[in-house]
């Protein structure tokens, strides 16, 4: 077995340059750590190819392949068809022939990408590793991938001798790495003769009746949980979030109870958020919920149970009934500092 692993960043629906480059940079970094090579296969409309391949060069990849698609985003199984076709493309297969048997493919974490990864794993008969936090290759070239399991209560290391695919949370790239990577020459290719994917399922986009700010990119998240007892509190949370320029989140039990839509669910099974401040109200602090909050985020907790685990991970907090404290907090936020 070769001991020079190959890391492949797979990016369906490319176009978010910062996120795309972050994943490719992570592939580069991991390849450098293990003495391997780093490549990317990206798919997007032809108009996105120049920017996508520029990101690949900026990330210092060895090779990048771009799959030109129709202008509208495809459905997950269509991307699987295209990527599976790409791996059968003569040029790509020739370039990576020796590397694919022990390639580690990476996708950015997120439900659509993870479904893509799972389906592609079935198609290519490779191992789906799930959402991993770190990787190493041992002296025998065996991949050791670490991740959480059992609702993030157990940390596990998976050993894999063959090709595998994993989701990772890309870290933001700062400009400092650019100089080091720009010395590499990235060989860029366009794959434009792939077989057409299966037809799309008919889809109707429905307007979302959502007047409030979304979680993505929020600097402050005001989040409610089971301890709030009913849905009466959520309007107050939206008011507080609006005062702070933040967005509202919810724990799984709160979503389950119908107090907030599933798009606001934070946790291992919901969204991963990385605000500066996370105001957790009536949230006990289970590992499943905390797994959805960036480790660098400062948590502020309001809970009537002084023994709640959330106070063990919060930087600040108050033991109080939300029915009493939240109206007072709203008033305090409305008054001049």
């Amino acid at each position: 077995m070769s001991h020079t692993p190959t890391i492949l960043a797979l990016i369906p629906a490319c176009g978010n340059d910062a996120a795309d480059r972050a994943l490719m940079s992570q592939a580069r970094q991991l390849a450098d750590q293990c003495g391997g090579s780093a490549h990317a296969v990206l798919a997007g409309p032809a108009s996105a190819s120049e920017a996508a391949l520029a990101c690949a060069r900026a990330a210092g990849l060895d090779q990048a392949w771009f799959i030109a698609t129709q202008p509208d985003a495809l459905q997950t199984q269509q991307y699987v068809d295209l990527f599976a076709g790409a791996f059968q493309d003569e040029d790509l297969a020739a370039a990576l022939a020796a590397a694919l048997p022990q390639a580690l493919m990476l996708v950015a974490a997120g439900s659509d990408n993870e479904a893509f990864a799972g389906a592609l794993a079935a198609r290519l008969d490779i191992a789906p590793l799930g959402r991993c936090t770190s990787f190493e290759f041992d002296a025998q070239g065996i991949l050791q991938a670490r991740r959480g399991a059992y609702g993030n209560r157990l940390g596990i290391t998976l050993a894999c001798a063959g090709p595998a695919i994993a989701a990772v949370r890309p870290r933001a790239v700062d400009g400092s790495g650019q100089a080091a990577t720009s010395a590499r020459q990235t060989a860029a290719h366009v794959l434009d003769k792939l077989p057409a994917p299966r037809p799309a399922h008919p889809i109707t986009l429905l307007p979302r009746n959502e007047p409030h700010a979304g979680l993505d990119g929020a600097r402050i998240v005001v989040s409610g949980g089971r301890g709030m007892g009913n849905d009466a509190a959520f309007p107050v949370l939206y008011d507080i979030a609006a005062r702070l320029g933040g967005a509202v989140g919810a724990s799984l039990p709160a979503v389950d109870a119908g107090w907030a839509p599933v798009t606001r669910q934070v946790g291992i099974s919901g969204k991963y958020v990385s605000p500066d401040l996370y105001l957790a109200i009536g949230i006990s602090g289970t590992p499943q919920h905390l797994a959805g909050i960036d480790p660098h985020t400062r948590i502020v907790a309001i809970n009537k149970d002084a023994e709640a685990n959330i106070f063990n991970v919060a930087q600040a907090g108050a033991v109080a009934e939300w029915q009493v404290l939240l109206p007072a907090l709203l008033e305090a936020l409305d008054s001049k500092p």
């Binding site: 008969d125 590793l129 609702g151 001798a161 429905l206 500092p337």
Partner: protein
């Protein structure tokens, strides 16, 4: 119409994970001391199947329980909701979390005379070792049309399905032909019903079918090399600053803290 549901028990989240008798946490997937519950996603998948039957869109509901299939309490809890059939398919410990094993062993159980169920539902995470790739893996392995993270399902007269889901930017309604497969996410509309007490009592009398997996199974591509309970990370290393006093004093202190720039904390 035949609707099948693939369920995997998860270790009861309200209890501490039981330390394996050997002390080796890698043995946890095979431990009989684990008390299994349905995840919110599996509950939602089961509820949607039962709703389709209530509406007359499904003549029967088959449930296959994988992880936790040897936990009688879990099987009884499922049976008390009166699906037409409840079947156990317990993966060997080394194959837990391996969708390739499941794809191979569940397909024959799902297919009735070679025909797939009109709809296969599965929670968005299948058991304690999956975090969202298994459902799509199975659909692709079985070459079935797939919709992920559906919240509601509506039948069509022509035998197809409309699935509602919340996409990244907007809500979506997708129409797929039967047979199809969908992973289900939790929502107010699909909270699992409570069983009738008489059905709970009846379920205690039931004997459950257990499928016998093919002994000549290919080795898993992945093995569990290490496992240990997650320790508190960097978070929580410093004491929580508590705001005390009257509610007004707490609120004023909180407001000041929330307004202050990050560098001052």
């Amino acid at each position: 119409m035949h609707v099948a549901v693939l369920l995997a028990g998860v270790a009861d989240p309200r209890k501490l994970l039981p330390r394996p008798a050997s002390g080796d946490w890698r043995k946890l997937p095979g431990e009989t001391s684990v008390s299994y519950k349905l995840s919110p996603f599996d509950e939602a998948a089961l509820e949607i199947a039962l709703k389709l039957r209530d509406q007359g869109a499904a003549a029967r509901v088959t449930v296959i329980v994988t992880d936790g299939a040897n936990d009688l309490a879990l099987l009884r809890a499922v049976a008390a909701l009166k699906p037409e059939r409840v079947l156990g398919l317990c993966p060997p410990a080394a194959q837990r979390g391996n969708p390739a094993w499941l794809a191979r062993h569940a397909s024959d159980l799902l297919r009735d005379g070679g025909a797939w169920p009109d709809l296969i539902l599965i929670g968005r995470e299948h058991g304690d070792l999956d975090d969202g790739m298994a459902a799509a893996y199975l659909a692709e392995a079985w070459r079935l049309p797939y919709v992920g993270l559906a919240l509601q399902v509506q039948p069509h007269a022509d035998g197809g399905w409309t699935l509602l889901r919340s996409g990244a930017q907007q809500d979506e309604s997708l129409r797929v032909p039967a047979p199809a497969m969908a992973s289900i996410s939790n929502d107010k509309s699909n909270r699992l019903r409570h069983p009738l007490m008489k059905n709970v009592a009846l379920a205690k009398q039931l004997k459950f079918e257990q499928a016998a997996p093919d002994a000549a199974q290919p080795a898993a591509l992945v093995s569990l090399a290490q496992a240990a309970p997650v320790e508190a990370g960097a978070r929580g290393t410093q004491a929580c600053r508590m705001f005390t006093g009257s509610p007004e004093e707490q609120a004023a202190a909180l407001a000041a803290y929330l307004r202050a720039p990050a560098s001052t904390h």
